[in-house]
């Protein structure tokens, strides 16, 4: 092993270069400082339905009566006149995972309406997308499955707040594999010992919605004991809505709580469903908004307009989503 | 006394050899690389089996192809020092020498006494607690030999025992081997390619060429010419 240096001045030169490198690396890797407490604080303040990961997941859920956020009626515009600009533009749209099935058609129709534009959907649980955005990920448009997450992002200044509008709604439903291995005939059967249920984690919007629906059912029809038994039958808390549907369609669980749209869009004969009465159900409202960081506000706005247009809304309806009331 | 008749088909030629060695006699096996010398030792030890043949040691049959007698390696009581001496590097010298006796569940006092004795004879007593991995080639060789002798074998076999040694060690190891063998009165087979070694310690020499013996006799009568042996 040769001596790395035996000349004084080469030492000085090395130290200087090392400092330069360290400075460069430190500068590039240090993100804009965000105190760790902020996300936690805002999350718990605006999400009364989200208990800490711990306590309620194993026991009785906290009794919740969440009033759906008041929504202004989405203006249903006539077919928009596309502002055609000759440049190629790809939009990055962060989209709640429950829109996975409908996203392909939406993308095609948007490109048809606005030639030269393409959309790339980043599909994941809304909570995951929110974390990505908060840690610097780039998005032009954000479609959220949860009002509270939307409000958090608005409060943190990620949205152009004036563009945030309700997009569509969805109810929760219970799906079963077509063969119904658990012999579930009614919602009461969900509490049967030995039943295997899959649900989304409570940080996922459909998870919170499921919790609420079950709590409402316990209050109105069944008992708190029923609620307890249902939760003790949960074998897995998934991190996105499609993951719940997968476990059910694979037949590995007896039942799962997902959105109605997932059931409607499933291929015939793969799933059965048990409806949750509207009175007890939780109507999830999706919102859409343009991000402040977008490179092209006009194109992003075009996409939002498209989603809110009759064409976009009809496509959503075809896949089982409900219109905003 | 060793009496063996071995026949085995090797890759390029058949090995066909008759061997006899008397107690206290050092029989030297010589030949080119690949002539089959090490194979002979491996067969005698039981690590390899001949196709046909018989091996008798002190009247006891170790292998008999006709009547299907086969004594396993562990029970043959043959001291075998392999090529490239294999002193166990992670054990101390005394643990090395004691290894065979321990395997036979001999009482530990007797083991200690024997270990002392053999270490003394091979002049490694001062290294008793040193890990064998730290020793020089010559020292490792002595350890291996002491270890083989310590089990009280009926036959000693050494494969190229002097190759890795310098002149000084070679002389003392050769002397030690000769003394031990004559003291114990057991036959001893030594494989070597060095003519000088054969002359030093051998009582008889067998020259092996392509699996068969092409010359047998006293070391002093060994024909110099016509033998292509690496020096």
């Amino acid at each position: 092993m040769q001596k790395l240096w035996n000349d004084k001045y080469s030492v000085y030169l090395c130290i200087a270069c090392l400092l330069l490198c360290a400075g460069l690396v430190a500068g590039c890797t240090t993100s804009t400082s965000q105190p760790a407490t902020t996300p936690v604080a805002t999350a718990s303040a605006t999400q009364p339905a989200t208990p800490a990961l711990s306590g309620t997941l194993t026991g009785t859920p906290a009794p919740v009566n969440v009033v759906p956020a008041t929504t202004t009626a989405a203006p249903v515009t006539a077919k928009p006149v596309p502002t055609y600009t000759p440049s190629e533009k790809t939009l990055i749209v962060f989209t709640a995972a429950s829109l996975t099935g409908v996203s392909k058609d939406l993308g095609k129709e948007f490109s048809a309406m606005y030639p030269g534009r393409t959309v790339v959907f980043n599909l994941d649980g809304t909570q995951a997308l929110k974390t990505q955005v908060e840690n610097g990920a780039y998005a032009d448009v954000f479609i959220s499955a949860s009002n509270s997450y939307t409000n958090t992002l608005k409060g943190e200044g990620f949205f152009i707040n004036s563009t945030v509008k309700p997009l569509t709604t969805n109810y929760v439903t219970v799906i079963l594999p077509a063969s119904n291995p658990g012999n579930i005939q009614s919602l009461a059967d969900l509490a049967k010992p030995g039943t295997k249920i899959a649900m989304a984690a409570n940080s996922v919007p459909v998870g919170t919605a499921s919790y609420t629906a079950l709590a409402n059912l316990a209050k109105s029809t069944y008992s708190q004991d029923w609620n307890k038994s249902v939760f003790s039958n949960v074998v897995s808390y998934e991190t996105s809505e499609p993951a719940v549907a997968t476990k059910v369609s694979l037949g590995e669980v007896d039942a799962g709580l997902v959105y109605e749209s997932t059931y409607s869009a499933a291929p015939a004969g793969t799933l059965t469903a048990i409806t949750i009465p509207k009175a007890d159900n939780y109507l999830q409202t999706y919102t859409i908004g343009v991000m402040k960081q977008t490179g092209s506000t006009s194109t992003a706005q075009e996409f939002e307009d498209f989603m809110l247009s009759t064409i976009g809304q009809q496509t959503l309806k075809d896949y089982g989503f409900r219109p905003v009331s | 006394m060793l009496e063996a008749h071995l026949h085995k088909q090797l890759r390029d030629f058949p090995l066909d050899l008759k061997i006899q060695a008397n107690p206290g006699e050092i029989l030297v096996l010589m030949g080119e690389n690949g002539a089959g010398k090490s194979t002979v030792l491996n067969i005698l030890s039981g690590l390899l089996n001949p196709d046909t043949g018989s091996i008798r040691l002190n009247g006891k049959s170790l292998f008999e192809s006709v009547s299907r007698v086969f004594v396993p390696v562990e029970s043959r009581n043959i001291g075998y020092v392999l090529q490239n001496s294999t002193a166990f590097p992670h054990l101390s010298v005394s643990e090395n020498v004691a290894y065979g006796m321990k395997a036979r569940h001999i009482h530990k006092d007797r083991i200690a006494q024997q270990v002392d004795h053999w270490m003394e004879l091979m002049d490694i007593k001062n290294l008793a607690d040193v890990k064998a991995g730290k020793l020089s080639g010559g020292q490792k060789q002595r350890v291996a030999i002491a270890r083989a002798l310590a089990i009280g074998p009926d036959l000693m076999m050494l494969d190229e025992p002097f190759t890795a040694l310098d002149t000084e060690s070679r002389q003392s190891v050769q002397d030690a081997v000769c003394t031990c063998v004559s003291d114990l009165q057991i036959p001893c087979l030594v494989v070597t390619h060095r003519v000088a070694d054969a002359r030093e310690i051998g009582d008889r020499v067998i020259l092996l060429n392509r699996g068969v013996s092409c010359w047998e006799g006293l070391p002093s009568d060994m024909p110099d010419a016509g033998i292509q042996l690496p020096s």
Binding site: L4, W5, D7, Y9, S10, L13, C14, C17, L18, C21, A22, V25, T29, T30, A36, T37, V40, T50, A52, L53, S54, L57, G125, Q127, A128, P181, K196, A198, A201, N202, S203, V204, V234, V235, S236, Y237, E238, T239, K247, G251, E252, V253 | S45, E74, I78, L82, Q83, T86, F88, P89, H90, G100, A103, R104, K131, G133, A144, R147, A148, I151
Partner: protein, 273 residues
């Protein structure tokens, strides 16, 4: 003051020296900085207080216990397997050799999917197990199975290679000295390969501890039952950032401790030839 480093010979030497230092520094920083950043993102008070959170303690206990059990099984079954495999030729040996490496290149999610499709309730094998009332998917056992599947190659390859490289002369000599195969294995083979086996075991443990994709697919995500630390980090990152951060830091500390312990043990054992 002579700037001797500007002279032709010294110029090149200085350049290569600087290059070497820059190279070492960049690699070190690239690996170290992200880990360090974890610690800077939280405060000591926040960290300590979240240690008591049931989400953290249950994930910690679950991860450590399952990883230890997985490692134990891999060592107990894998060591004799690797030994037999390396010392013998048998028909299909090459296929087995390749299969040992398979989990290394298979994406963990695929591994999880495969385990689910085989052992799940409606799986190829699982359906028969289900008839006897045996459930595998979504249990802690599934966590262990997933860990063993993805982590065992680290140990098996290492053990296999060690046994292959071990000079067979040692074992042959031991045989001639009268030692039984078991004695040979315990007194000769194992001690001479122990160092390498330990490092293989460490890698296996680390991989088992960090397993995520196969676990979430096959075992699911249930706190206290199947929510291991990596799963907890992932979920926490989305819902409760602070918990995710705390568990990440815990994992770093555990990994470091293991590495240091192994270094210490290896140093004490001394070097064998």
């Amino acid at each position: 003051m002579t700037f001797s480093f500007l002279e032709p010979d010294n110029y090149w030497r200085t350049l290569t020296t600087v290059g070497a230092i820059v190279l070492i520094a960049s690699v070190t920083l690239y690996l170290a900085l992200p880990v360090v950043a974890l610690f800077f993102r939280t405060t000591p008070e926040l960290f300590i207080s979240s240690l008591c959170d049931p989400a953290v303690t249950s994930a910690l206990w679950l991860s450590l216990s399952t990883s230890v059990i997985s490692l134990g099984i891999v060592i107990l079954v894998g060591t004799p397997f690797a030994y037999v495999h390396s010392r013998n030729t048998y028909p299909g040996k090459m296929i087995v050799d390749t299969l040992i490496d398979l989990p290394l290149v298979l994406p963990p999610a695929v591994a999880g999917m495969a385990l689910l499709v085989l052992y799940g309730r409606v799986g190829l094998v699982g359906r028969y197990l289900d008839m006897f009332g045996i459930t595998l998917a979504f249990t802690t056992l599934a966590v262990i199975m997933a860990q063993i599947f993805v982590a065992s190659p680290f140990y098996l390859r290492q053990a296999k290679s060690l046994f292959e490289q071990l000079d067979p002369s040692y074992e042959k000599t031991a045989r001639t000295l009268g030692a039984s195969p078991l004695r040979i294995f315990m007194t000769i083979t194992l001690p001479l390969t122990a160092g390498g086996l330990v490092s293989g075991a460490v890698m296996t443990f680390g991989r088992a501890l960090g397993e995520f994709g196969a676990t979430i697919m096959f075992a699911g995500n249930l706190p206290g039952v199947t929510q291991t630390m990596p799963l907890s980090v992932y979920v926490g990152m989305q819902g409760n950032f602070n918990i995710g951060l705390t568990i990440s830091i815990l994992l770093v500390i555990i990994s470091f401790t293991i590495m240091l312990a192994v270094r210490f043990l290896a140093g004490r054992e001394g070097r064998h030839a």
